[in-house]
Symmetry: C2
Subunit: 173 residues, 2 copies
Amino acid sequence: MMDAIEALLTRKSVRSFTDKPLTEEQIEQLLKVMVAAPSGGNRQPWRIIVVQNQQVKDELAKAALDQHFIATAPVIFAVCRAPEESAARYRDLGRNLYSFQDTAAMTENLLVAAHAMGLGGCWVGAFKDKEVSQILECPPDVYPVALIPIGFPAKVKGKPQRRPMKEVVRFIR
Amino acid sequence: MMDAIEALLTRKSVRSFTDKPLTEEQIEQLLKVMVAAPSGGNRQPWRIIVVQNQQVKDELAKAALDQHFIATAPVIFAVCRAPEESAARYRDLGRNLYSFQDTAAMTENLLVAAHAMGLGGCWVGAFKDKEVSQILECPPDVYPVALIPIGFPAKVKGKPQRRPMKEVVRFIR
């Protein structure tokens, strides 16, 4: 158990994992938290592909510009957007904005939950879209937007510093 | 104190608020959690405008397609993306993807933290972009992507149901 505020404040990227696999219960818990994310009009324009196959993990790492650490995690969660499911109600706003935001909220939920459960992960957003779609056998209108390797942390680095608040926050009182 | 997993699972949209204002400490805590969100390359391509002025809140509600409940919250957090700050390193990928994802992760952090603190809020993504930019006096290259009214919940509705897991999750073992 970890306090929610503490989990949000102390979550950080983990890129080095032990060999210990996740349990089925852990994967199920993470999936529940992921789909608990909000989405515009509750359209849930998302797909999750849980990759545990080593060969497929290796292929994903290669398609992610050779970020090999990805393939060393026991599980990679591939988050995809299904923009037409949001566009059906919200047209371009759903297609071009909400489907990105909703899947990002889902990804953040995954990372915070993993951290709270003693796991760790990293949001990987740099990859060759078409290659990843092919590897994951995504149907038409389903597009990968994030690859998130999750596992037990081996090495943990510090959390990178944030800019001073006054640079990014303004008050209208 | 609320357990992180519980907070992630039970967060839900709140659209009805009491008159009770947030304390300065609560606002500060929420801001800290917001900027603790991950961002591509730690670029932090975001701005937060904390709106407590009633006239400005009313103008925002009007620009948000007359969603008047927004103006009844003691605070509206306006989240903006600063795409060029991500594009400086990642070009179009930063501009068109990461700046949306990073600000969405920040927004989800805000909503989860608010819920854990006994507050509530709602992710408002439908508004007239240019009007909101004018109201908030956004500089060039800073674009509002979410308005999040936050306050003490008055009425709380149930959390809308999620689609069955098998509709959205697939395993590659």
